[in-house]
């Protein structure tokens, strides 16, 4: 039923959106007001209260149609999760119902001097009376172009803080990333905060949590969402490849009858099934409140991103001239999946986490 709604809203327009670099406002508005951009927000906070597993399957479906739209969902869901975990009770009551009703939010981590290494974060917040004052730069903030609220990870004294900043507050500049490689309509932007003043109640729980804890908390949701988004990319590639291989004939027979092409098809199926199972497992652990969900989520993100990047390359190979133009589903997958190997923890950072876990388990 939800899938039908999204299918109707997206239709066959994802290619156009990719070329234009813009999602239509009415699509974002429709999904936003139904709470579907952050469907995991608990019912008590005005959300749909979906489980991680149900939200994951929904995320994969949206991702199979349009990774840019799915990226906006990832950002919105991550913002909601960050508030749910890091805010105090009055802040949860203030902000979560707004997000569940369609106010859009993005989370700003990366900076010119800080990607995987958070110790480089230079954005600072300081308290002056009843106000929090923010100064600094953020890069590549997904969905910031569409956002009403920006959740900014900043230094606060010798610890960290997440500050909720209205995107139209004086001193905020949102500059779109020109021609991003992938998820071209996801509204990536560079942000500048120049003496931006917000009420002190916009600092989640007053701040003071360590930066690694803030970021690890926020990224937990982001990684799960990206992992399921990659399942969507894999499903889109598998559908495009099987559809093409069934009808395109070369040397007098459909492509699927050529064994080297058949191997590609099997590889795509293996990738899609593998990523799905790893994501399902991670979401089940998440829904059970198991501590194993922490590493399982990193594993799901890593398996999803790496398999999607490989599979999208394979899909372009099979479709060849039929898929080798911007806007085509496999061309989008090829560019979008590569970004999935970078965001919410690069492949390399994921591998370090997984290696650390393996070493710990072997002791």
């Amino acid at each position: 039923m939800l899938d039908d709604l999204v299918r109707e809203l997206v239709g066959d327009r994802a290619g156009e959106w990719d070329l234009a670099g813009e999602l239509p406002e009415d699509v974002l508005e429709e999904l936003g007001k139904r709470g579907l951009l952050c469907a995991q927000v608990p019912v008590e906070h005005g959300g749909l209260g979906m489980s991680s597993l149900a939200n994951g399957e929904f995320t994969a479906f949206v991702g199979s149609l349009c990774s840019s739209l799915r990226s906006v969902m990832t950002s919105q869901g991550m913002a909601a999760w960050t508030i749910q975990r890091l805010a105090d009770a009055p802040q949860r009551r203030e902000f979560l119902p707004r997000l569940a009703a369609g106010a859009r939010a993005a989370v700003a981590f990366s900076e010119p001097g800080a990607g995987s290494d958070l110790s480089g974060i230079g954005t600072r917040v300081r308290i002056e009376g009843d106000h929090a004052v923010l100064d600094g730069h953020k890069t590549w903030t997904t969905a910031a172009h569409y956002a009403d609220l920006l959740l900014v990870v900043a230094r606060h004294g010798d610890a960290g803080a997440v500050v909720v900043v209205p995107a139209d507050a004086p001193g905020v500049t949102v500059e779109r990333v020109a021609d991003p490689l992938g998820c071209r309509a996801a509204g990536h932007a560079h942000l500048t905060f120049d003496d931006v003043r917000v009420p002190v109640s916009h600092v989640l729980a007053g701040g003071g949590q360590p930066l690694p804890m803030l970021v690890t908390t926020a990224l937990a949701y982001g990684r799960m969402s990206v992992a399921w988004g990659c399942v969507g990319i894999l499903r889109a590639c598998l559908a495009a490849v099987t559809g093409h291989a069934a009808v395109r004939e070369q040397f007098g027979t459909p492509l699927a009858n050529h064994q080297l092409v058949a191997a590609h098809i099997a590889d795509l199926l293996v990738a899609e099934r593998t990523a799905t199972l790893v994501c399902e497992r991670a979401s089940e652990l998440w829904d059970a409140g198991s501590p194993e969900s922490v590493v399982a989520t990193v594993l799901a993100k890593h398996v999803g991103a790496t398999r999607a990047a490989e599979a999208a390359s394979t899909a372009v190979q099979v479709l060849a001239s039929a898929g080798a133009r911007d806007g085509h589903v496999v061309a989008r997958a090829y560019r979008d999946a590569k970004l999935m190997e970078i965001i919410e923890g690069t492949n390399e950072i994921s591998l370090l986490v997984l290696a650390d876990h393996a070493m710990r388990a072997s002791r």
Binding site: Q84, R85, L86, A87, D88, A89, Q91, L204, A205, G206, G208, Q209, P210, P212, M213, L214, V215, T216, T217, A220, A288, G289, S290, P291, E292, S293, V294, V295, V298, V353, D356, H357, R360, R363
Partner: protein, 85 residues
């Protein structure tokens, strides 16, 4: 024993056992887990989720400070305070 009946002392004993299974080492109640390098940020997250699941508490907002997870004793005190709330 159900988590609700556990004393603060029992929580400390259980957390020590949980850590033993995870880091294969028995830690003293006041040992600084971060200073000793036993616990990094991903594992701190696991501790948060474990305490929430086992003791039916929600560790949110300003409670997500390293000092609350620095030692077994601190985690016991955190659980006790949140259960009393």
């Amino acid at each position: 024993m159900s988590a609700a009946q556990l004393s603060g002392q029992d929580v400390e004993t259980e957390v020590t056992e949980f850590l033993r299974t995870k880091v294969k080492q028995t830690v003293a109640p006041d040992e600084d887990l971060f200073a000793s390098g036993l616990v990094a940020s991903m594992f701190a997250m696991e501790l948060v989720v474990h305490l929430e699941q086992r003791y039916g508490v929600a560790i949110l907002g300003s409670d997500l400070r390293l000092d609350n997870f620095r030692t077994v004793r601190a985690m016991g005190a955190l659980v006790e305070r949140l259960r009393g709330a």
